[in-house]
């Protein structure tokens, strides 16, 4: 039974380097233990993804497909209004979440928080459903809501896989494995090892550790063996690597790890050598699969990388001024305007009564009228802050203070804030669009200063943020804080002639975006005035402004 599979199970680690094999293994494990929640699959639609989804058959013969725009009725079931009206008695529709099996969520990157919340509730309530989230995110900042991805054990990125490079994969006997699962016994010290791993990689969610344990069991059940080092290695690599927020220092870690008297690894090996898995091996297994940007990036970027702040994804959709109702089907967001519906149905009553076989009002689905409200969209204030050496450090501190003040005041208006800083040779998004004061504080505390003034690069990045925000239904406003001495050109070279020219070129693209240029140099700068004129922006000279004055000026100018 064990040996009937091709040998890659026994050599599982090398193959884990291949994303496709990893995704396929994740699907097999999910088929063995649906309690693992699901798989977050990052891939564009295409033959590679199709090859993988073809394997969903192992999991569930007819997997249910979901898309993020599904209404609550479609999802959870409820009154089928059209059928009810046609038949004259109550007709309920069944929701797709009511049945066990695999749920394939297409276009998962567009999942609104509300939809994710329903899926999460379903995953929490039962162990019968498995969610395969197909994430086609292209731009940075898109992604599956963190609440959902936290509840899925696996995450694999297929974007670099070529169709020709897909290895031949075994077809394990899943039915047998499922039967064996209940008998798999985990070594007593496995929870400890997993807990230490989560600490080493800075993984906070306890779900990760539980998934690792489950995955190890499922993997052992697949191989028809008791849990060995291969199982644990594969399990931790699959469940922990994508959640890591820090990289343990491998060499030192290995020494300190074995030095303190944490007896289980060394001492218990006496009676049963099979159970003993060196911690360093597991760390290496996870480390081999860490996302590449983790290794060379600072940890602060990573918290956001697991999912964007779901709050920012929301479209401007709060209730507003009522508008005339219009025909349509009721969905989760819409309410039926009863009076308008009756008015629409009234003229037809005589004709319909002639053909209908039941008494009472004759209303058809086409008569339905929905309430509409005028939406107001959320505003996003993008701060482009000059963090270069020429902007004195004190001024930078005032700018930081102003951002925090604005955010603290912004509760009533529900503004979002985003911070782009430029210094040295390039610009970076220090704070993605957020309303969170906690996050702002942490990011701002880390804002470094010094170096050249790449004004053009800063403006370009800010403009890009503005475009992204517009796509998400927000209303962006740009606020530039600088003393205007641009000396780094767009391509990163120090060129005092070209730098202001580049800034002006980018400035032209800002027309149409409400922009405020704040000159915080000691003397007003002519080039900055010119930039403001070119980009149809407001210009404000505020030498020696403190945080409070700055924030007041901004909120006055932006209304």
């Amino acid at each position: 039974m064990v040996r009937e599979w091709p040998g890659w199970w026994t050599r599982s680690l090398p193959d884990l380097a291949d994303p496709f094999a990893r995704a396929a293994l994740a699907l097999d494990l999910l088929a063995v233990d649906p309690g693992l929640g699901g798989l977050h699959l990052r891939a564009r639609a295409g033959p590679v993804r199709d090859r993988l989804t073809a394997r969903l058959g192992h999991l569930d013969e007819d997997a249910q497909r979901l898309h993020p725009a599904m209404t609550d009725t479609a999802l959870l079931g409820g009154l089928d209004l059209a059928a009810t009206l046609a038949s004259g008695h109550r007709v309920d529709s069944k929701g797709v979440l009511g049945r066990p099996g695999a749920l394939v969520l297409t276009m998962a990157e567009r999942t609104p928080p509300g939809f994710a919340a329903r899926l999460c509730a379903r995953l929490d309530a039962s162990r019968d459903n498995v969610v395969i989230a197909l994430d086609e995110a292209a731009a940075e900042g898109e992604g599956v809501p963190a609440a959902l991805s936290d509840r899925l054990a696996f995450s694999v990125d297929l974007s670099g896989v070529a169709i020709g490079a897909i290895p031949a994969l075994p077809e394990p006997n899943l039915a047998d494995a499922r039967r064996r699962l209940a008998r798999v016994i985990a070594p007593a010290d496995l929870p400890l090892q997993i807990a230490e791993l989560t600490m080493a990689f800075g993984i906070d969610s306890p779900r990760a550790a539980l998934f690792a344990l489950r995955a190890a069991r499922a993997h052992a059940a697949l191989r028809d063996m008791s849990i060995g080092s291969d199982d644990v290695e594969a399990a931790v690599a699959l469940t922990l690597a994508h959640r890591a927020t820090q990289v343990p220092e491998l060499e030192e870690e290995a020494e300190t790890e074995s030095a303190p008297p944490q007896d289980p690894p060394q001492d218990q090996s006496g009676p049963d050598g099979e159970d003993d898995i060196p911690q360093e091996m597991l760390i290496a297994a996870v480390a081999a699969l860490l996302p590449p940007d983790l290794l060379n990036a600072t940890p602060k970027v990573l918290r956001g990388a697991t999912g964007d702040g779901a709050g920012a994804m929301r479209q401007g959709n709060r209730r507003g001024r009522p508008l005339p109702s219009r025909p349509g089907r009721p969905g989760s967001g819409a309410r039926i305007d009863i009076v308008a519906t009756l008015r629409a149905a009234a003229p037809w009553q005589t004709i319909r009564k002639a053909t209908a076989r039941r008494p009472g009002l004759q209303i058809r689905a086409a008569d339905l009228r929905l309430h509409r409200f005028q939406d107001t969209s959320d505003r996003l204030v993008i701060f482009a802050v000059d963090a270069s050496g020429s902007s004195a450090l004190a001024r930078l501190a005032e700018a930081k203070g102003a951002v925090e003040y604005l955010l603290a005041e912004a509760y009533a208006r529900r503004d979002h804030v985003c911070l782009v800083a430029f210094r040295g040779t390039e610009a970076e998004v220090l704070l993605p669009p957020t309303r969170s004061l906690v996050q702002t504080k942490r990011r701002l505390a880390e804002l470094p200063g010094g170096g050249g003034t790449p004004l053009a690069a800063g403006l370009q990045l800010a403009a890009q943020e503005a475009r992204t925000a517009r796509r998400k239904g927000m209303d962006p406003v740009l606020c530039l804080l600088t003393d205007g001495r641009a000396n780094i050109a767009l391509d990163g070279t120090a060129d005092r002639q070209r730098a202001p020219q580049d800034a002006l070129t980018i400035g032209k693209t800002l027309i149409g975006l409400q922009t405020l240029v704040i000159d915080c140099g000691t003397r007003p700068s002519a080039s900055l005035k010119e930039l403001a004129d070119t980009s149809a922006a407001q210009y404000l000279a505020l030498p020696r402004a403190d945080a409070a004055r700055l924030s007041r000026a901004v909120s006055d100018a932006l209304g």
Binding site: H89, F115, C120, A121, L192, G311, L361, I363, T434
Partner: protein, 334 residues
């Protein structure tokens, strides 16, 4: 159907567990807000607590879980008033829920097919006498949060729409959870929650291992695990029931009242909700600890959870609000 995770088996998170127990002893304290990391057992604790509480007696089929036949609203259209025992209701309020689903609305089906004006009760009706749990409350649309807090405060849901005019009791303990990194609640809303706790993932290996072990045991052998924790759960239930009886007898002398007022003054919390909640929480805490009068120990024990969310926000202060409360409490009670 598996049982909810046993309350007594939840590892750590003492603040959150205490806050929930206090609201179970005295629901008038108001809701609990649990802010913090994901996967730290916030929703588990709510469900576990509700499962642990003694069952409520209610009229069978009553949409608002009425205790007595005479309380059953007319619009429910019940014909027979049999009393049954039912577990304490826990209602989930999902994100993206419409106002109609929350408050209840005109029953569209009856209106359109039969031309009848009937009321279709919403989530607030179902949550009466129980718990209303909102995950990611910070992402909930503002008007829904406003509405919830209004109802939670008044204990009554008023529906005035589409020609309906209905009011029904809606007394529930509101439990909200969320991650502050994804957005915050407006201060006006924060203030309406009675208690607020911060939950963090355990930072030491031993606790994490214990979390993994228990959760794993729970999932692998549900009934054995429930049996193992039955006695502990029962002990907590007894204590809550006894505390509920004792709470009316617990005194608060003038010194305690002065302490409470001084703490709130020193912290500069707006309004009087802070004082009242602190006093109620301290009384419930005294009852929980089986003491007969409120002392400074009780005030110390609950001041952080009762007050931390009522402070004026100071964007430039790096210290957590819990620390600020603790500092002031130490100064006042010194």
């Amino acid at each position: 159907m598996t049982h909810p995770f046993p309350f007594s088996a939840i590892v750590g998170q003492e603040d959150m567990k205490l806050a929930m127990i206090l609201t179970a002893i005295d629901p008038s304290i108001g809701g609990v807000l649990a802010f913090g990391d994901r996967g730290t057992g916030k929703s588990t604790a709510v469900r576990a607590l509700a499962a642990l509480l003694p069952p409520v007696t209610k009229v069978d089929g009553c949409p608002v879980n009425s205790a007595r036949p005479e309380d059953v609203p007319e619009w429910a259209g019940l014909k027979d008033y049999r009393l049954v025992e039912a577990p304490t209701p826990v209602v989930d309020l999902p994100l993206g829920v419409t106002e109609d689903r929350v408050t209840g609305a005109l029953d569209i089906e009856k209106a359109l097919t039969l031309g009848e004006k009937a009321f279709e009760p919403g989530l607030l009706a179902r949550a009466n006498r129980g718990y209303l749990y909102i995950d990611e409350v910070n992402l909930l649309e503002d008007h829904v949060v406003d509405l919830l807090l209004d109802v939670a405060q008044s204990g009554e849901n008023v529906v005035e729409r589409e020609g309906l005019s209905i009011r029904h009791p809606a007394r529930f303990v509101l439990v909200g959870s969320g991650n502050p990194e994804e957005g915050e609640l407006r201060p006006q809303l924060l203030d309406r929650f009675g208690l607020s706790v911060e939950v963090t993932s355990p930072r030491d290996v031993e606790t994490r291992v214990e979390v993994i072990r228990r959760r794993d045991a729970y999932e692998r052998d549900n009934s054995a695990f429930m049996l193992r924790w039955q006695a502990e759960d029962a002990a907590i239930r007894e204590r809550i029931v006894a505390a509920r009886r004792a709470i009316a007898e617990i005194e608060a002398n003038d010194r305690v009242l002065t302490d409470v007022a001084e703490i709130c003054l020193a912290l500069g919390s707006d309004g009087l909700r802070g004082e009242l909640t602190l006093l109620k929480a301290a009384r419930a805490y005294a009852a929980w600890r089986d003491d007969t009068a409120i002392t400074r120990t009780h005030i110390r024990g609950v001041s952080a959870m009762a007050l931390r969310h009522r402070l004026r926000r100071d964007p430039l202060d790096e210290a957590g609000s819990g620390t600020r409360v603790a500092r002031v409490v130490d100064e006042v009670l010194a």
